[in-house]
Symmetry: C2
Subunit: 156 residues, 2 copies
DNA sequence: TATTGTTATACTCTATAACTATA
DNA sequence: TATAGTTATAGAGTATAACAATA
């Protein structure tokens, strides 16, 4: 009657099982908030993922397309297009990898640094306003969980 | 040199300003995790947003397209298409609104309930596995922040 | 043969604008 | 005139498959 496979039994390590309600609340909230963050863009701004890549290059220095794809959890062809668009706007440049001629190093330009600062400020503003409207306990809970959420998002 | 407007000064209520690093960590994590959740689908499954709509109909009963669009923070035409696809698969039905003939009530079918249960289980499984790999303090921080994140995602 | 990256292609999600029907 | 919903259209984001270059 439908093509969806039955769920398999999850392989679990020791420890109490996380509450499924917690997991589903997290999932639903991340989906909605992610969509809102992705579509909340100012005129002339780059996309959310482009911004994330540019920000990473500003923080971490030159990286290869493969590094960036793994860091942002997108497929290599997607990263190729992101880099292409950033390059067309003069926000990043490429240079050959010194040791492996298959690879390329992507680097932010000075314009890229300036752009990233303004873009991040604009994007942060909206979320900050939302955050401000939460109760103090909610704000505190989120402040304490931010790094955990980042680690959750980047697990292989 | 670029089309991005300068950020305006945020209008803030009382209280300490949230740490911009916290906000940006949250933003980056939600974007990456949202993308991964959206693209992590099993064969024959519905999309993440379709699943969220179906789940809401299962929890809350019959709702209008407008209610659903506001609840999931998508535009009305987007919700129209989501409903259309769910209807084509026999997971929801429509019936006239008893008091206002402009409106429509969308309702889950029995097949929709069964499908939602399996789909949610499959989607929850992946996130549960990831969650399990976090340290206990990280798990605790996220458990305590889940409802706050939901409220953050649904603020008008 | 394996790895890195790109090109070609296609699909999904979502948005905005314009329209219809009802209030 | 305002509201609820749909249709038409378009664009952005991402994926998979196939290819080229290098290790």
């Amino acid at each position: 009657m439908s093509g969806l496979p039955a769920p398999t039994a999850p392989v679990r390590a020791a420890g109490p099982a996380p509450n499924p309600d917690t997991i589903n609340t997290l999932r639903a909230a991340v989906l909605v908030l992610g969509r809102r963050l992705r579509y909340q863009t100012a005129d002339g701004d780059i996309s959310a993922t482009e911004g994330a890549v540019l920000g990473r290059l500003c923080r971490e220095g030159a990286l290869t397309p493969g590094d960036l794809a793994r860091g942002e959890h997108v497929q290599p062809p997607s990263m190729s297009r992101i880099i292409e668009r950033l390059e067309q706007r003069g926000l990043v440049t490429r240079r050959p990898h010194p040791e492996d001629r298959r690879q390329v190093l992507i680097e932010r330009t000075p314009e890229g640094v300036a752009f990233a600062e303004r873009s991040t400020a604009v994007r942060t503003e909206w979320l900050t306003r939302q955050f401000d409207r939460l109760s103090p306990p909610d704000q505190q809970a989120l402040t304490r969980a931010a790094d955990a959420l980042r680690r959750l998002s980047t697990l292989s």
